[in-house]
């Protein structure tokens, strides 16, 4: 299968039954392959809802999400999960499965019904666990891990799914500084060297500035800014959307963002 394709949102409008205001209204954006795109916006601006459209968890009447040329919802689940993997904000799994079991689950879309995990599957899972340094507790129960450890296991699982696209929903929210950098650097490296494509939902502008090369900013279910990170992370835009004034300093060619005061 062709591993080079864009993800395209076409006029997504989503309003859950019985609610007054739509979560997304007429959102269109093309996530280009080969980039790490930051999906930004205040709480409740529709970031996660947008990701869920790509995963075909929800459908938008009148809108469409395209994987390459085809509607995401038209793919059989196994085929779609060989193209997109997803790291949720927090996992509902509170289970007795071991870390290794959980990571191996990512190999499901490559298996026939009666097939068992092959040596190759185990090798891929081990490599993924090593990459995010969870290999040391591969035999521990997933349910017994701390929030940050779980988050890294979920990232290992997404890596083991070996997809051309990874959708990360606040992947570093539970991580300490070292692991935040480790994960983001890993993703950046995969994007630059292996042609991986990433969408990452984030709140930390310094991280976005350091690692992402594209950004799209949602507010109230609409796209209010898009382009390179330099074009989107502008004091005036941030002030309008987040209602916070930022001080911006420059060091080594990268900008640093300090929240100064409420508008």
């Amino acid at each position: 299968m062709d591993t080079h394709f864009d993800l395209q949102a076409k006029s997504l409008t989503y309003q859950p039954f019985g609610t007054k205001t739509p979560i997304l209204s007429d959102v269109s954006y093309i996530f280009e392959e080969g980039h790490m795109t930051a999906l930004l916006g205040p709480n409740g601006s529709g970031k996660t809802t947008m990701l869920r459209h790509f995963l075909a968890q929800i459908k938008s009447p009148g809108g469409a999400v395209l994987i390459g040329e085809k509607d995401s919802a038209s793919f059989p689940p196994k085929e779609r999960s060989r193209m997109l993997s997803w790291v949720p904000q927090n996992s509902s799994g509170d289970s007795a499965f071991t870390v290794e079991d959980v990571v191996l689950m990512a190999r499901y879309p490559y298996k026939g019904t009666w097939e068992n995990d092959s040596q190759e599957d185990i090798r891929i899972a081990e490599e993924a666990m090593r990459t995010v340094s969870v290999i040391d507790f591969r035999n521990r129960d997933f349910g017994s891990l701390s929030g940050g450890e779980r988050q890294r296991v979920l990232i290992a699982r997404a890596l083991a799914q070996t997809t051309p696209w990874i959708l990360l929903d606040e992947p570093t929210s539970n991580l300490d500084v070292k692991h935040q950098l480790e994960i983001m650097e890993l993703m950046k490296k995969r994007v630059d060297e292996h042609g991986l494509s990433v969408i990452v939902v984030m709140h930390d502008f310094n991280m976005v500035e350091k690692f992402c090369d594209r950004a799209v900013l949602l507010s109230g279910g609409r796209v209010v800014a898009r382009g390179t990170v330099g074009e989107v992370l502008v004091p005036q835009i941030l002030r309008d959307v987040y209602e916070v004034d930022f001080d911006i300093m420059e060091k080594d060619g990268k900008r640093m963002f300090f929240p100064k005061s409420l508008k």
Binding site: K78, S81, S85, Y108
Partner: protein, 336 residues
């Protein structure tokens, strides 16, 4: 474990109001196998013993095993599907449906037997199947077939049916005892026809369960995560609920309502062999079979010539053991 099951089957067949030596029981069973010289095997065994073992005890023991195993396997699937350790096939309302069917047959005196199939059994199975259809229908129109929807529809239908059974029992007081005894569960009406019927259903359901084993593993992370890893969530859920329902309907219709097996055996097996459904389902099946055969044996032999309802035995023996396991698990948790 399979070996243990075979030993338990032969042993349970040997034990009863007429005691037959274990060796004779084993030889009678072996004689029926292909490639075994039956004449030689059965030499010196009284004809009465042969009759007791083959025609009375063995079908009963096997039926107990099939029902116990079936209920335990169904329990594993329910717990995985509802992501709830307390989920039980009974919440789907199927047991109440079967009881309702049986109660109708008993209360209105519809009793006939065609080639070993009694009317009560037929009515119980029909009741269970109709309830299953009803639950699905209600769940679909009311709640678009979510997991909770099925659960709520099951509970609603179940309590309506229980109310109907109570009314029937009130209006037919002379049949009250018979209906009540049926509901408590017993294998005393076992026959080879029932064994055959139960085996076929169990085999079919088991095939579905093993097929879905891996999907059920992934579903423990919730519908959305499972889907993102490639599981067809709706399809998996539909197949799982249908096959479990059918299995439970069959089990309840031949034996009455026997609680606790479907809840406790999966838990015990999970503690012993881990959460992977592909392994857990077959092991729970074996464990449930052994457990049920032993319980039925106690129910036959504890206070001869009367029988204790097997449902009562499963609860009495199961509950303390379950508490012990929970206590042990907690101790382990504190040590870690």
């Amino acid at each position: 474990m399979l070996l243990l099951l075979v030993i338990v089957v032969v042993w349970a067949a040997a034990v009863g109001s007429v005691s037959v030596p274990f060796s004779q029981s084993a030889r009678i069973v072996l004689a029926k196998l292909p490639f075994v010289d039956a004449e030689e095997m059965l030499e010196g065994i009284p004809k009465a013993n042969k009759l007791i073992i083959w025609n009375i005890r063995l079908p009963r023991v096997l039926l107990a095993g099939l029902v116990g195993g079936g209920l335990a396997a169904a329990g594993v699937v329910m717990q995985a599907l509802f992501r709830n350790p307390l989920a039980d096939p009974q919440v789907l309302g199927i047991s109440s449906g079967a009881a309702f069917g049986a109660a109708v047959a008993i209360a209105f005196g519809i009793t006939f037997t065609v080639s070993g199939i009694s009317s009560i059994w037929l009515f119980a199975f029909a009741g269970a199947m109709l309830t299953m259809v009803l639950v699905f229908y209600v769940a679909r129109i009311a709640t678009s077939r979510s997991v909770t929807g099925i659960l709520l529809a099951g509970i609603a239908c179940s309590s309506m049916l229980t109310a109907a059974i109570t009314l029937m029992m009130m209006w037919n007081r002379e049949k009250l005892e018979q209906i009540y005894l049926w509901m408590l569960g017993s294998f005393s009406s076992a026959s080879w026809v029932k064994v055959g019927f139960m085996s076929i259903v169990l085999l079919g359901a088991l095939l579905c369960f093993i097929l879905l084993g891996r999907d059920l593993d992934l579903l423990s992370f919730g519908d959305q995560e499972a889907q993102s890893m490639g599981v067809s969530v709706k399809r998996t859920r539909t197949i799982a609920v249908l096959s479990t329902s059918l299995l439970v309907a069959a089990a309840v219709s031949v034996s009455g309502i026997i609680g606790f097996v479907s809840l406790i055996i999966p838990h015990i097996m999970r503690m012993l062999c881990g959460p992977k459904n592909r392994r857990l389902i077959p092991l729970s099946l074996l464990g449930g079979a052994i457990f049920m055969i032993l319980c039925d044996m106690i129910s036959r032999t504890a206070v001869p010539p009367n029988e204790i309802a097997v449902g009562a035995i499963t609860q009495v023996t199961g509950a303390p053991f379950f508490l012990y396991l929970l206590w042990k698990e907690r101790r382990k948790g504190e040590r870690d």
